[in-house]
């Protein structure tokens, strides 16, 4: 019964598109007065509701790319648009989940999730209802009043996902969201995220360095290369969701991707 309620609530609010278009995006930092190119000539189109995984060695600028899309970094050259609107700064249309959960230690789980609705015009009751829905969405019932330090890493990251989703962003950015979790928790979190995405159907872009994770979740996997950060390779994962982790097709794609990634190592 709860599930159908969730479906109805979420379906009624997340039919918005979320098409991302990036053209000729470049970004450089100044290092000791010398410009250092972090990203060069990135072209990327993401369809509404698509799940895109980005993999690459550390230093390939994948996190910078995500921060640029989130609006946390500025001073780029090129063009970035979400549904035709240029990205210049942060916006509630673009949510982000960081590798560290970044829950406020002085707030409980429910408060941490509700706090994302500060700018929302919803009434108090509507907010409470939506918080409850999202706590259920990430399976944290019973932990509403727990403080972050009382949660396991996986639970804290779920709360962070709920906080990012509750504003119903058109686009959710995930910056190595499970990178700090142990292997078992990571696998269960990937399954959770897949379920949430299937239910939510907002556009998601996830940065990771776990190839299996990228393939298991992504409709498409993008391989980035370093110095300067650029898109090297792209692969479509032509399997329907929800997926079987050990599907032979995923294994094949994994071999291809690993070869691509190893190739970029051998270049150096």
């Amino acid at each position: 019964m709860n599930a159908s309620l969730d479906q109805r609530w979420l379906a009624s609010t997340s039919h918005s598109p979320g098409a991302l278009q990036i053209r000729e995006l470049s970004k450089h930092y100044l290092l000791d007065g010398q410009p250092m190119e972090v990203l060069k000539g990135i072209d990327l189109r993401v369809k509404p509701g698509e799940f895109v995984s980005i993999v690459g060695a550390s230093g390939c600028g994948k996190s910078s790319l995500l921060r640029l899309i989130a609006g946390l970094e500025s001073d780029y050259s090129g063009d970035m648009q979400l549904d035709g609107k240029a990205i210049t700064t942060t916006s509630l249309e673009r949510g982000i989940v960081f590798q560290d959960h970044r829950l406020f230690p002085w707030k409980t789980v429910a408060q941490n999730i509700a706090i994302a609705l500060k700018r929302s015009p919803l009434t108090r009751q509507e907010k409470a209802l939506r918080v409850a829905e999202h706590i259920r969405l990430v399976n944290l019932q019973g932990f509403e009043n727990a403080y972050p330090h009382q949660l396991s890493g996986g639970m804290a990251q779920r709360a962070a996902i709920a906080r990012a989703l509750i504003t119903q962003p058109k686009l959710l950015l995930l910056d190595e969201p499970f990178g700090a979790l142990d292997a078992l928790t990571r696998i269960s979190m990937q399954r959770e995220l897949q379920r949430i995405w299937v239910q939510h159907r907002s556009t998601m872009i996830m940065v990771t360095h776990d190839v299996e994770e990228a393939l298991y979740l992504g409709d498409r996997v993008i391989v980035m290369d370093a110095r300067p950060g650029r898109i090297k390779y792209e692969i479509d994962v032509d399997l329907p969701h929800p997926r079987e982790r050990h599907a032979p097709r995923l294994q094949e794609l994994k071999e291809i991707l690993l070869t691509e990634l190893a190739g970029s190592d051998a270049d150096k």
């Binding site: 946390l72 960081f98 406020f104 700018r119």
Partner: protein
């Protein structure tokens, strides 16, 4: 058995004071001059009964306490404002920090002659001394608290599109709270000490310091001793009270 142990553990803190009292009592029995310097416990007991009967002890303690509280309040509010301003505004920091850090080096005792000259030796002058004593640590800790806010939390606030006020109440203030509480704890200790200290130097009005000054003038050393013990106990009690309160209020912390 366990009960006994826990009692013993709690009594450990009383061991040194008890030894000190015993040594004191021994010293007081080593001749007439020693008995003046180290008043026998029995005399102290008599003095205490007298002070409690005539209400002097209560009136003096309350007077010192009241001054501490008012001065603490003023100092804490001023310290919060100045500390936060210096941390959050570069202009305020450039304007206020040099003066603040210079003044802070001067011991309050060194300011008393000037304060007495400008403001007399009435309650107002004493309040100023107490407020200043509370103001310094409060400002410093507030400043520290606000400048050490984790950048990652500010990013969350940016992503959630909070306005300046929301950032202040939801991120900065709670983030600085631990430091602010620390500041109040220090301010409390300084305020109490300087409240009694101001009475020793500006000897009008009532208070524990005045009680001791008058007793010294009348060669009533037992009352001086009672004053010292009373100041120590009160200070300790206030410190404990506030520490517990803080621990309760900041119980979300992972300690």
């Amino acid at each position: 058995m366990n009960n006994l142990l826990s009692h013993a553990r709690r009594a450990r803190g009383l061991l040194l004071p008890a030894l000190l009292v015993a040594a004191w009592e021994v010293a007081s029995h080593q001749g007439a001059s020693q008995a003046y310097a180290f008043v026998p416990l029995s005399v102290i007991g008599q003095g205490l009964t007298e002070l409690i009967r005539n209400g002097d002890l209560l009136i003096s303690t309350l007077a010192s306490l009241q001054r501490t509280c008012i001065g603490l309040l003023i100092g804490v509010i001023a310290g919060l404002l100045v500390g936060a301003a210096m941390a959050l505004s570069a202009i305020a920091e450039r304007l206020l920090a040099p003066l603040y850090h210079m003044l802070r080096q001067v011991p309050i005792l060194g300011l008393i002659p000037l304060i007495a000259l400008w403001f007399g030796s009435q309650e107002g002058a004493k309040l100023l001394i107490v407020s200043l004593a509370a103001f310094y640590p409060m400002t410093l800790n507030t400043f520290e608290g606000f400048t050490h806010i984790d950048r990652r939390y500010r990013e969350v606030a940016r992503v959630l599109e909070w306005n300046t006020w929301q950032v202040f109440t939801q991120v900065l203030l709670p983030g600085a709270l631990r430091s602010i509480a620390n500041g109040i704890l220090h301010a409390l200790a300084f305020a109490w000490v300087s409240s009694v200290g101001s009475e020793l130097f500006l000897s009008t009005g009532s208070g524990l310091g005045n009680l001791m000054m008058n007793a010294e003038a009348g060669a009533r050393m037992e009352i001086v001793v009672i004053g010292v013990v009373c100041i120590g106990l009160m200070g300790y009690a206030m410190n404990q009270l506030f520490s517990r309160l803080t621990r309760h209020l900041l119980r979300w912390r992972d300690i």
